[in-house]
């Protein structure tokens, strides 16, 4: 079984921080998690996967899509193999590029770029222990 680096249920609090839709196909959502009280900014392709304010979704971050947990090769060779993504609606692939401290003690921020779609997750650093800088990550989302 693959070990997930992080998982939680988030609730969309706001779309586009300045209430200005700057990009046609991309929305930046502000979301807060239920279990760990995480705060998150996430760019999401709104054309493919529209999320509305107040919607809840389940989010999971893993380092490989192989169900048996074998590490990713780094090369992309899709096939009809079984994958973790099968049970999710929206999957992105990216890289963790920055870890930094945040407001308040023991808070930290993770910054991940999915090919330019950015994610910023803020919360207690104890939940971020499994993350490494320059790690390749898969972001899996399904609505609940």
């Amino acid at each position: 079984m693959v070990e997930s680096l992080f998982e939680d249920i988030f609730r969309v609090e706001k779309l586009n921080p300045d209430d200005k839709k700057l990009f046609e196909k991309v929305n930046r959502i502000e979301a807060r998690s239920e279990r760990f009280d995480m705060f998150m900014h996430l760019d999401i392709n709104s054309e493919l996967y529209p999320l509305k304010e107040g919607q809840k979704f389940f989010l999971k971050v893993v380092s490989t899509l192989n169900p048996d947990g074998t590490p990713d090769t780094g090369y992309y060779n899709p096939g009809n193999r079984q994958s973790l993504a099968d049970t999710f609606e929206y999957v992105m692939y990216g890289k963790l590029y920055r870890v930094t401290e945040s407001t308040g003690r023991e808070k930290a921020e993770l910054l991940i770029s999915f090919g330019g779609l950015l994610m910023m997750m803020k919360g207690d650093h104890s939940h971020f222990n499994k993350f490494e800088l320059d790690q390749r990550l898969y972001l899996l989302i399904r609505k609940v």
């Binding site: 921080p17 300045d18 200005k20 700057l22 990009f23 046609e24 196909k25 991309v26 930046r28 900014h41 760019d43 392709n45 493919l48 996967y49 899509l65 090369y75 992309y76 899709p78 993504a85 999710f88 609606e89 929206y90 999957v91 992105m92 692939y93 990216g94 890289k95 590029y97 920055r98 870890v99 930094t100 401290e101 945040s102 407001t103 023991e106 930290a108 910054l111 770029s113 999915f114 090919g115 330019g116 779609l117 950015l118 910023m120 650093h125 104890s126 971020f128 222990n129 993350f131 490494e132 800088l133 320059d134 390749r136 898969y138």
Partner: protein, 1390 residues
């Protein structure tokens, strides 16, 4: 010289002539020829004024005598028997019946005559001072310049002497004058003794000539005999060799080849020189027949003088009026002088073969190093290729094709020296007989090296070498990325092409001049070859956050960048589900690193134009990558993490852009190939995507119109209020302005802000797909204000930095009421270009438009001349192997170039710092991933590692603050080491989260490394990069830094906009800026337009004290402090009574009372004496007029009454005014004074002014008062200030070099002909600069000898220059050859 043919002299045995190989010109010496010398070099005496006889043969003894060379192609030379093309000509001679002055030496002759006795020809100095001066003059240590100075000081004594008796013979010498109209010299003996004599003579009735005695003409014959008589010591004293040579007695008739006849329609047209000589011969013949005393004789003599003068300099005016030729003939001076003259047109630059020129056009499919050459051109241009084993088949095919079919050849040169033209001879046979070692002039082919150039060639990147690509059609094409260095566009520009003809030339061009090796400008190290225009637009659109591509589209675009030939690793898509989608940013990651084997890891952060720096997060940090506009570009290990790419990342003029980073970290190949790929990708992508502009792009939305009207109305209201206040007199005055100026400047400021405000509104309302908006955002073309002008509002039109001037009486146009100050009446254009301008608006717009056109037209001429002067002054400077900068004489200009010996082209940091530590730190942290046993170094460990690394390179403990400028043995400057140390210490502080809660301590210690801290390996990598890269950046010996510096200062001059004035701290105080200011500085002008002294106060935090000091500096007139100045008549006397207003004086804190006023009046030059002024009490004075006669008293009183109020009683006279400058950056506010005018010394001495820190912007004044080092500093500071206020950055090393060159002789030498002359240059170089002939005459006069060392000298003489690759010479040690001993002599051993 051609050897005489055998029919001349025959030898029984061939004479042995040693073959010394090609001869080199070691030096050139100038001199004047004497009569006999001319006779010797002449082959024939020329005396006949005819050219040809009846049989069309040159007349013997005529001007075209065949002994002086062949007159036309059908003849041959009678001296050397060479043909027309072979004989280089022989001189003739033409003895004159009477001597005449050489017009070029005329002023010198006058000067000498002034110094010598006109009777005994000795110097007029008395014996003692003569000996002393002679000693000085004969000092062998003096160089030509010092001798000239000495000579000038001697001659100055006699410059305007009226009468002086010769200390030897007692003859009374008068003044010597030069009569320009008749070319004669007059000795004016108008003194008392002569006057007495004359009065005696006037009694004698039969004395004929009346005025002869007082002013006598010194005719050439007399002068000649005087000069002949001159003593050798006197000649030495006057720094002249043989003065009698200054007078022409014999003309050297030049060979026919330099005055060729032109045959047109069978009629031979003679050269101007020949024509003039003919006239001289005629007059000379007449003169020879006349007797000495007749008036006809004198007239002819003057005529001869005039003709000989015109023969040398046809500009000489005078002679008889009726004899002026209609068209001025060219004399020798005209041949030499000026831009079209011999020096600048034929010697310093020559016509070249193997060149081409056509229109240019763009081709993004070419590499940046390539240039497409049309086949037509390639068939003409050839390269001589030597036949070898490898290319013989190719060359055979070329030869068979001949000169007209493309891969062909034009000429075959056999190894024996014979050559065949392949157009005429049988090509097939020659091709078959081709042998190794032959040389074939083949057509240009792909890969050949060519030089590519566009005028004006302002810097060295205007001529770069490219690889040829032979292509069809008719234009020269190259990649648009290379437009910048050439400053080319494709609106019909033409460019030149040169083909180097030897392997050596090719190699040198390849190594020094290729585009790849010139990506950076040595001006400041910024990248110059970079993406432009469309490339930026398409990159911007591709990397937009919401561009996604599916698999087919993404693969297609990937194949664009490498013509589908590259290996590409398809990355995992950014969105995997619900559909596979790749983002545009991933394309850029591929562009940088197509597949895993490419080891290019780019790390950089750039803030683009659209980055919003104001938006902060909850900890008040900048958002950086999370910027909502996506304006923060972040590349991490060649992956584009965030940011929409625009000009700052890809464009030129940036040191931290993508290409700069590639160039610095992975060398020029990586940068060049990346540019190639980007060019192909962008051009093809935008070709499919489409990008255009239409009318809807400039149509304002309703909301925009609404808000624009709102903004403008608000601005109008503000202006109206200003005007109202002005009329009521309530306007609050700005510092140093009167009411009208304040009004004008506040309205102007308001209106100028209005356009920016509208522009902002405009930008907000436009749709994101708006093409002009996209172009402005990514930086490819246009600015917000350009868009605003099209869409919303054109804005204020300014002419000469002000609003439109009043062209009519009290108004700008008759459409407005008189004295209208409203925005519309003074050139505010409310409409946009889309809505259309009203008639008056249009008129104002044309006014501003014309100013721009005129300015550019004027500026190009000014800057061109400035560049030329800079170049001539600095061309000889280059770097020696010991890092000194010297000129050709070997005198040192700088001990270490730029104080640290770094190459300006390689500087990565801000302000000419060698490295950008921040970027390198980021990079070394990113490329060195934290591995398993990742341990953070404590700060003490960090210091230890730093010390270790430094000691490795030999810098162990020499990092104290007082370390000298350069550690010569290791070559790191102390500045660099110190900045490195402080950077490391600042950036590796890990004690931020040292002691956490004990419960979380374990977790924390795991987590900290991810946040901050540095591992040992990372630090080591960082230090290694810094230290090794620093060494790479040392400048190479032989670099022509003089020329580079001249380019770097001259080229930005052309780009300076018309902003010629700028407020110096406060409004109303302008400083000259732009090209005029640069020219002022460079010229070392003694009078500048806006001299400003910045006076620092001793107490700079108190406004009141500052005002007091200001009062002390500013000049106060008596009228300003006097209560009354009135004329008082009493019965006994009349006087002026002055009473001072002590209240005003005390209010202004001026230290004035009646006594000081008295002193001031005495010093004011009113010619009053001390007894004329009586001090009545502390505040009253009485001034009595100087009593001359009673009738004048009234006038005197009135005159005094008018003049007295103007007497300066306090302050510095040369100061115009002083303005208080308030500096608000620091708290509390500080004050200093800006003083307009000269008088630095006086201002420094004023109480309350800190003299140590007070400076002026007047260079000459700085030199006179603070010395030459201060002047040098001032030059550097002022040029930097001027350049900075135009937004131009120039490496300070160039400016330092210029300032050093200007000050190295101990006085400020301007970059003008006078200054350059004093820099100790050779006569040839000076002659090739300006006023050629003056320097040539001077050189001939002094008998100067030039070693041919300088750049100009070498070019003129056709020698290689001793700079750069020409600096070194190969020497070979040869074994002394053993001479073979012949047979023993028969008679031996005497």
């Amino acid at each position: 010289m051609n050897r005489p043919k055998s029919d001349g002299m025959t030898f029984t045995k061939e004479p042995y002539i040693e073959d010394t190989g090609a001869r080199k010109i070691a030096g050139i010496s100038f001199s004047t020829l004497s009569e006999t010398e001319i006779m010797k070099i002449g082959e024939v005496q020329v005396w006949h004024a005819d050219y040809y006889d009846a049989f069309k043969k040159p007349v013997p003894g005529g001007l075209l005598d065949s002994r002086m060379g062949a007159a036309n192609k059908s003849l041959s030379c009678a001296t050397c028997h060479g043909l027309y093309a072979d004989c280089q000509g022989h001189y003739g001679y033409l003895p004159l019946a009477r001597p005449v002055f050489n017009v070029g030496f005329l002023s010198t002759i006058v000067k000498i005559l002034k110094c010598i006795c006109k009777h005994c020809a000795r110097v007029l100095l008395d014996e003692d001072s003569r000996k002393k001066s002679l000693m000085k003059m004969r000092n062998p240590k003096l160089d030509g310049l010092q001798k000239m100075q000495l000579l000038e000081s001697i001659m100055k004594k006699y410059k305007s002497v009226k009468a002086i008796a010769c200390p030897r013979c007692g003859y009374i010498n008068g003044s010597v004058k030069h009569n320009k109209s008749t070319l004669s010299i007059i000795h004016d003996c108008d003194n008392e003794v002569v006057a007495e004599l004359q009065s005696a003579l006037s009694d004698v009735n039969n004395y004929r000539a009346s005025s002869d005695l007082t002013s006598r003409v010194l005719d050439p014959l007399r002068v000649h005999s005087l000069f002949k008589k001159m003593h050798v010591e006197d000649c030495d004293l006057l720094y002249i060799e043989k003065p009698e040579k200054l007078i022409i007695t014999n003309i050297a008739v030049p060979p026919i080849v330099i005055r060729p006849s032109v045959i047109m329609d069978g009629v031979s047209n003679e050269n101007d020189i020949t024509v003039k000589l003919k006239e001289i011969i005629k007059v000379n013949a007449c003169l020879g027949q006349e007797s000495g005393e007749s008036s006809k004789f004198q007239e002819n003599w003057l005529m001869l003088q005039f003709h000989v003068a015109q023969y040398i300099n046809s500009d000489v005016k005078g002679g008889s009026i009726y004899n002026q030729p209609s068209k001025p003939l060219t004399g020798f001076i005209q041949r030499i002088k000026g831009k079209q003259g011999r020096f600048r047109s034929n010697l310093s630059g020559k016509r070249a073969e193997y060149t081409g020129r056509t229109v240019i056009s763009p081709d993004p499919n070419l590499k940046i190093t390539e240039v497409a050459i049309p086949i037509h051109m390639a068939r003409i241009l050839t390269y001589p290729e030597r036949v070898t084993h490898h290319n013989i088949e190719k060359l055979r095919q070329c030869m068979r094709n001949g000169p007209d079919k493309y891969p062909g050849a034009r000429l075959l040169k056999k190894s024996g020296g014979t050559s065949w033209n392949l157009k005429l001879s049988s090509r097939k046979r020659l091709a078959d007989e081709l042998k190794f070692g032959d040389i074939v002039d083949r057509h240009l082919e792909d890969g050949d090296i060519v030089l590519f150039n566009r005028q004006p060639s302002l810097h060295r990147m205007s001529m770069m070498s490219h690889r040829a690509r032979i292509m069809p059609w008719r234009t020269l094409r190259f990649n648009e990325s290379v437009c910048n260095p050439y400053n080319a566009d494709f609106d019909g520009d033409e460019m030149n092409l040169h083909v180097p003809q030897t392997e050596e030339a090719r190699t040198e061009a390849l190594l020094l001049m290729t585009v790849q090796n010139n990506l950076c400008t040595p001006k400041n190290g910024e990248i110059l070859v970079a993406s432009t225009q469309d490339f930026l637009t398409s990159s911007f659109l591709i990397t937009r956050k919401d561009t996604f591509y599916d698999r087919s589209a993404f693969s297609l675009i990937c194949s664009y960048m490498g013509d589908g030939m590259d290996l590409i690793d398809l990355p995992t898509p950014a969105i995997i589900k619900p559909v596979e989608l790749w983002s545009g940013k991933q394309l850029f990651s591929i562009l940088l690193r197509p597949h895993a084997n490419v080891r290019v890891y780019v790390n950089l952060t750039v803030k683009e134009k659209i980055y919003n720096a104001k938006k902060r997060d909850d900890r008040n940090r900048e958002l950086k990558t999370m910027c909502l506009n996506d304006g923060f570009v972040y590349f991490r290990n060649s992956e584009l993490i965030s940011g929409q790419i625009g000009k700052v990342t890809l464009g030129n003029g940036n040191k931290d852009g993508l290409f700069s980073v590639l160039l610095r970290d992975y060398k020029s190949d990586a940068a060049a190939s990346c540019m190639n790929r980007l060019a192909k990708l962008s051009a093809r992508w935008i070709g499919n995507h489409g990008f255009s502009i239409g009318i809807e792009d400039v149509q304002p939305k309703v909301i925009l119109i609404h808000r624009k009207n709102e903004t403008i109305d608000k601005g109008y209201d503000v202006c109206d209020r200003f005007i109202e206040d002005f009329h009521k007199g309530k306007l609050k005055l700005a510092a140093g302005c009167d009411a009208a100026q304040t009004l004008e400047s506040s309205i102007f400021g308001t209106l100028n802000n209005l356009r920016d405000a509208t522009a902002q509104v405009c930008m907000q309302t436009l749709h994101w797909r708006n093409s002009p908006l996209i172009m402005s955002q990514c930086g490819s073309k246009g600015s917000p204000s350009n868009i605003c002008q099209m869409v919303a509002c054109v804005g204020q039109q300014s002419v000469g930095g002000c609003r439109a001037a009043n062209g009519f009486l009290d108004r700008s146009l008759p459409h407005f009421p008189k004295r209208a100050q409203t925005p519309a009446a003074k050139g505010f254009v409310r409409n946009s270009f889309y809505s259309g301008l009203s008639a008056t608006e249009f008129f104002f717009h044309t006014m501003a438009g014309r100013e721009g056109l005129v300015d550019t037209a004027v500026k190009t001429a000014d800057t061109g001349y400035m560049s030329r002067r800079l170049m001539k002054a600095l061309e000889d400077l280059f770097l020696h192997y010991d890092y000194t900068v010297r000129d050709t004489n070997g005198s040192i200009v700088q001990f270490c170039y730029g104080d640290d010996g770094m190459d300006p082209a390689g500087m990565e940091g801000e302000n000419g710092k060698p490295l950008n530590f921040d970027r390198l730190f980021l990079r070394s942290k990113a490329i060195c991933p934290p591995d398993g046993d990742h341990v953070i170094l404590s700060s003490s460990d960090v210091r230890r590692v730093l010390q270790e690394k430094l000691s490795e390179v030999g810098m162990s403990n020499s990092v104290e603050k007082d370390a000298s400028d350069i550690m010569s043995e290791v070559g790191f400057s102390a500045d660099f080491i110190q900045s490195l140390q402080s950077f490391v210490e600042k950036n590796t502080l890990t004690e931020i989260i040292t002691e956490g809660d004990s419960t979380n301590l374990k977790n924390l210690s795991n987590f900290i490394p991810k946040i901050s801290g540095i591992s040992r390996r990372q630090l080591e990598v960082f230090l290694d990069i810094c230290l090794s890269r620093y060494r790479f950046k040392k400048i190479e010996a032989g670099t022509p830094i003089g020329a580079i510096g001249a380019h770097s200062i001259g080229e930005p001059g052309t780009q300076m906009t018309l902003k010629t004035f700028h407020f110096a701290g406060v409004a109303s105080m302008n400083v000259t800026l732009g090209v005029p200011r640069i020219i002022e500085i460079i010229n070392g002008a003694p009078n500048i337009k806006t001299p400003i002294i910045t006076a620092i106060l001793e107490r700079d935090d108190n406004a009141n004290i500052a005002k007091v000091v200001k009062g002390r500096i500013e000049k106060t007139n008596l009228g300003q402090v006097a209560k009354s100045i009135q004329v008082v008549y009493t019965s006994r006397s009349a006087a002026i009574l002055i009473s001072l207003d002590m209240k005003i004086i005390e209010d202004a804190h001026l230290n004035i009372d009646a006594n000081t006023v008295k002193q001031s009046i005495l010093q004011s030059g009113l010619k009053l004496k001390s007894e004329n002024i009586k001090v009545l009490d502390m505040k009253k004075l009485q001034v009595d007029p100087r009593v001359a006669s009673r009738s004048e008293i009234l006038f005197q009183l009135n005159n005094l009454k008018n003049l007295l109020p103007l007497v300066v009683v306090k302050g510095v006279k040369t100061v115009e005014r002083a303005v208080l400058e308030i500096k608000k950056e620091k708290k509390p506010e500080t004050y200093n004074l800006l003083v307009e005018g000269k008088g630095l010394k006086e201002v420094m001495g004023i109480e309350g002014v800190n003299g140590h820190r007070t400076v002026s912007n007047h260079i000459i004044e700085m030199m006179n008062i603070l010395g030459i080092e201060a002047a040098r500093y001032c030059i550097i500071e002022q040029i930097q200030y001027t350049m900075k206020s135009h937004g131009m950055s120039i490496d300070v090393r160039h400016i330092m070099l210029l300032a050093d060159m200007m000050t190295v002789r101990g006085q400020v030498l301007g970059m003008t002909r006078h200054g350059i002359q004093k820099m100790g240059r050779s006569s040839l170089m000076l002659a090739s600069f300006e006023s050629s002939t003056d320097y040539l005459f001077d050189a001939a006069l002094r008998g100067k000898g030039d070693p041919i060392d300088g750049v100009s000298d070498c070019i003129i003489m056709g020698k290689p220059i001793h700079i750069g690759t020409g600096m070194i010479e190969v020497q070979q040690r040869l074994e002394p050859s053993v001479l073979p001993r012949g047979a023993n002599p028969i008679l031996s051993g005497v």
